[in-house]
């Protein structure tokens, strides 16, 4: 049902991802204005987006004994991995690539962020950046395993790692209905690998910006863009995994994909300011003591349902 698109989808997918990320930034700006008791306005959104040309033209900060190669590499990896991850996400009935292991591809790209952010923290030869990089690794150890089991529950339900099969398996009943734990853990994971909102710990204000502390100019732009691109990519991934992909009445499949993605993205942006920042050492205990058993039980339940279905 889902097929690989033509060559121009390779350009369209990143463009759509970028548009989604810009929308998320705009929504976040409005939420911030409301939070501060001001009226959300287009002007505020415009001022936030003016940051892009400002960072593009800003003079980059030079630091003594910085490891420029690793720094640049890390800064590039974060947004590049986000773009690569959506290549397997079907949009309507079309994806850029119809990989037989699409789910694992997404996970692998997401894990590349670990390397990217650690390098971005290491590169500048600055204490605050380095601590930020280490914080992300600690956070990664906390969020990654529950997230993996959330992804596995969807794959188990569809008995396939191909996203097209996962979408096809949800005709009639979306996975979110019988895998609610997986869905919620996936959303938490999205916020965590985008290091935004409650998971902004690696770039915390208490650390003078953490991994962002010394990043300036294009470096800073790429890292910030990487966060919002990852948030959008994670929201787009939740749709084929748990929300039935492009399935839906009346409207064409691509419109359903778009609507669902925007809904998830809106929910995530709303959540950004509702939850305080969680320290990694606190979250790791919650993740391993509460979330991990919950997701394991979820996978077990899904596996039993699949077995019973096959038997009957």
């Amino acid at each position: 049902m889902v097929e690989a698109g033509r060559w121009w989808t390779v350009l369209l997918a990143p463009a759509l991802l970028l548009a989604g990320a810009l929308l998320a930034v705009a929504a976040d700006t409005c939420a911030a204005a409301q939070h501060a008791g001001r009226r959300p306005s287009l002007g505020a959104v415009g001022r936030r987006l003016l940051e892009v040309p400002r960072l593009l033209t800003a003079q980059p900060r030079t630091l003594p004994a910085a490891d420029r190669l690793l720094w640049r590499l890390g800064v590039l990896i974060v947004p590049a991995a986000a773009v690569l991850s959506v290549l397997v996400v079907p949009f309507g009935h079309r994806g850029v690539a119809d990989l037989s292991v699409g789910l694992v591809w997404f996970n692998a790209m997401e894990v590349l962020t670990w390397a990217g952010l650690w390098l971005a923290g290491w590169g500048p030869n600055s204490v605050f950046s380095l601590v930020g990089g280490y914080r992300f690794v600690a956070q990664g150890l906390a969020y990654e395993l529950p997230l993996m089991f959330a992804l596995i529950s969807a794959a188990t339900g569809a008995q396939s790692l191909r996203l097209a099969d996962i979408v096809a398996a949800q005709q009639g009943l979306w996975f979110v209905v019988w895998m609610p734990v997986g869905f919620l853990v996936h959303l938490a994971g999205v916020l965590a690998f985008a290091f935004l909102g409650p998971f902004a710990y690696p770039a915390g204000h208490d650390l003078a910006g953490g991994v962002l502390a010394e990043a300036s100019g294009v470096d800073r732009l790429l890292l910030q863009a990487g966060r919002w691109l990852w948030l959008t990519a994670g929201a787009a991934m939740a749709v084929p995994l748990f929300l039935g992909g492009g399935n839906g009445p009346v409207l064409p499949a691509w419109a359903w994909s778009l609507l669902k993605t925007l809904a998830v993205l809106g929910l995530l942006v709303y959540g950004l300011r509702r939850v305080p920042v969680v320290r990694a050492d606190r979250y790791v205990e919650l993740a391993w003591v509460v979330l991990l058993p919950l997701t394991l039980v979820q996978v077990l339940a899904v596996a039993l349902v699949v077995l019973v279905r096959q038997g009957g």
């Binding site: 037989s100 590349l112 290491w122």
Partner: protein, 186 residues
């Protein structure tokens, strides 16, 4: 196309492997090794085992990032401030590695490789799963227990505090006395 990417990935993997020993910074050496391993994952992918290829990339990135933390912490190059070398016991190591490389390369050409019978299956992921969870089930289960036991034992040996330190002599202290508070109030 496949041949080009295979050779390209192979050359990059080798170049990164050389860089591991040429770098004078532990962080660079670690990530050169990661680059080499990611290329190996790419080779496996191109050879028609997409699951094993992508999983190799996934696991290697996680593993090498965690490894970087420990390598930087324990090696003789604190925080990358002093130049260091990955070369130790140069003469012996050179002899051993040359011998291993020669024997492995020789084996590639000397072994009488069997001809392919039948055609490769469409979904190799399924075949891998069947091999691991069918014929090799016992091996995998034993491996799983051994790994788990190793992890628990290593953690127990590394910790200098036991449950009596945390929960008191009668194991009834609540919340536990921990150097850093946990997230769920135990």
């Amino acid at each position: 196309m496949e041949a080009v990417s295979l050779w390209g990935l192979g050359v990059v993997a080798l170049a990164c492997a050389v860089a591991v020993f040429a770098c004078d910074s532990m962080a660079r050496a670690t990530f050169a090794l990661l680059g080499s391993l990611v290329c190996v994952g790419g080779v496996v992918f191109v050879l028609g085992l997409p699951y094993l290829g992508v999983v190799t990339v996934l696991m290697m990135v996680m593993e090498m990032v965690v490894m970087a933390v420990f390598m930087v912490a324990y090696m003789m190059n604190p925080a990358g401030l002093m130049p260091m070398s990955m070369l130790h016991n140069k003469r012996g190591a050179l002899g051993i590695s040359a011998a291993v490389f020669a024997s492995l390369t020789g084996a590639v050409f000397l072994v009488d490789w069997p001809q392919r019978r039948g055609s490769p299956p469409r979904d190799t992921t399924f075949q891998v799963g069947k091999a691991l969870m069918g014929g090799q089930m016992l091996t995998m289960v034993v491996l799983g227990f051994v790994l788990l036991a190793t992890m628990v034992a290593a953690t127990v040996l590394a910790l200098h505090r036991g449950r009596y330190d945390r929960l008191g002599d009668d194991l009834d202290r609540c919340p536990a006395r921990d150097p850093a508070g946990g997230g769920v109030g135990r």
